[in-house]
């Protein structure tokens, strides 16, 4: 828990130390860094489990309108999950980001992605009558991420940082032929740095 506190604190504090010159309050292609907490669960269930499976994410975004209330995000998240296997999630999502108050905003997002789900233990395959160990590469699967979130813009004279929290539900297709779609969730705490 101590490490978790340090990580979250780092994400919120580091942006304050950036002193960029001639940067507008919102600019395209900010860096988004997040700490992610993964679980193999239906949405809004078993939230405690998310905090056992930590990950890290990095991404960016581009605005689709002048007020930046519609943006397109791209990102990659790596997470550790001891029971189900680690994962590497690539995604792009369309985000509606309405503002409220002077600096607050909400987020509703959805998109498409690709999850490389690694095996939690080594695998075995029968090849020419003998058992061979396989890598933990696992399986790549297309997925549909959906999310909600909220954040706060901290505007400085020539820069802006936006700490946020997101909850993502990811419907992963083709896990195996018996279970065509499996539920994954991510709680994301991070900051966008313009």
């Amino acid at each position: 828990m101590k490490i978790l506190t340090i990580l979250v604190g780092w994400l919120l504090i580091v942006p304050h130390t950036i002193h960029a010159q001639d940067i507008k309050p919102y600019s395209d292609f900010p860096i988004t860094i997040s700490v992610n907490f993964h679980a193999f669960t239906l949405p809004f269930r078993d939230l405690k489990t998310n905090f056992r499976n930590i990950g890290i994410g990095i991404g960016t975004e581009v605005s689709l309108n002048s007020s930046a209330t519609w943006v397109q995000q791209v990102g990659v998240v790596w997470y550790h999950n001891q029971a189900l296997g680690n994962g590497l999630l690539f995604s792009t999502q369309n985000v509606w980001r309405p503002t409220f108050g002077s600096n607050g905003y909400g987020e509703v997002k959805g998109g498409v992605g690709y999850l490389q789900s690694f095996l939690p233990t080594k695998g075995f395959r029968m090849t020419n009558g003998t058992w061979q160990e396989t890598s933990r590469k696992g399986k790549g699967m297309f997925c549909v991420p959906l999310g909600i979130g909220a954040g706060y813009d901290i505007r400085q004279s020539q820069s802006m940082i936006s700490p946020f929290i997101n909850y993502q539900f990811i419907a992963v297709t083709g896990y195996n032929t018996s279970i065509p779609v499996v539920p994954n969730t991510l709680i994301q705490v991070g900051s966008r740095i313009h």
Binding site: I3, I6, L7, W10, A39, F40, T41, L42, R45, D46, T49, I54, I56, W78, H80, N81, Q82, A83, L84, G85, N86, S117, L119, P120, T121, K122, G123, F124, R125, M126, G129, W131, T134, G138, K139, Y175, N176, T177, S178, I179, V182, P183
Partner: protein
Amino acid sequence: MKSLLLLFLLSANCALGQSLPITNCKEDSSVVINTKYSKAAAVNAALLKLTQMGVPGVSMAVYSKEGWWSTSHGYAKLEGQVPMQGCHLQYLQSISKTYMAVAILKLAEQGKIDLDQLMTVYLPKAISQHITQAEKISVRMLLNHTSGIPEYNLQPAYVSYLLQHPKHIFQPEDYLRYIHQKPLDFPPGSKYSYRNTNYLLLTMIADFIIGDHTKLIRESIFQPLQLTHTFYRGDADYLNYPTLVNTYWDRHSKGILENASLLQRNNVASLVGDDGIVTSPIEAVKFLKGLVAGQLLSSSSLDKMKTWVKRKEKPVYGLGLSYVTFAGNIGYGHSGGGIGAGCQLYYFPEKDVCVFVAINLGTVTDSPIHKKAESVIEEFYAALLN
């Protein structure tokens, strides 16, 4: 930043150990094996095919007019290549339902339960309130899967929790919460649909009638048949046996197997009545052989077990017994399948053959290995029966 990096490096290499220790064992000497069994070569050839196509290990026993015979192929544990032996314990999975049905029929013989009485007569409100229209469902409907009660292990919330928490032990009522007041799949008694929930409820009924259904199973089955290598919950070392096979599953249906022994063991340790028994192949056969020979129940009770409900005009299930045809031969008994194991226990009356076969590969998730194995299983029964 250093601590962040260290955390990820550590976590990347930290996987949940699934394999369990297993030892070689001494073969069962309680029966005399007929070393000149006439079907041995053909049966061995079929089972060898199974292991060559990617089933880790297979073990079987048969009792026929030629006496006892048993054989094993492949591995009880792939890591370290521990050979499968006939004395290794196998997961019975849903074959446990036949044991539970026998226990309920034993209670009926003792006049402690009426099969046509409603389940609400025997269950407290706290339990029956989970089930929609519980007041319309009889004990017999639970036994022959005509209750319409939904399946707990098809609930996405249950399946995802099970996989995310492989060490978690569920309590019986936890399963009922997953189907709390869900609509019935069909009106009670109107059709057949196999549901594990039915047998979970039967154990709860037995518990409320006599206090402990595990004691009932031990006293009405294990003890009279002298089954000393058959185990169910309530045992002090339950599922921590050094001769219990390791089990494997094909998580992504790609023909790549992972050791799932910890998940399998903890899953089975949680299951009551619909699963939970482990045994050796010979003792599995001893159970069914004893049942059909009238060592456990009266002929009237056995006839009740063999009163088949039909699906599409064909007999399919009795009371804890399923009706099957293999290689043109009619049989009855039960099959079992779980995360890391699969098995079949059947009696073929026309041939007077009783057989058990088990593999340590899971059958609940599809695998290309299963598709290839299906034809070999038919070949196995043809070798055994024809």
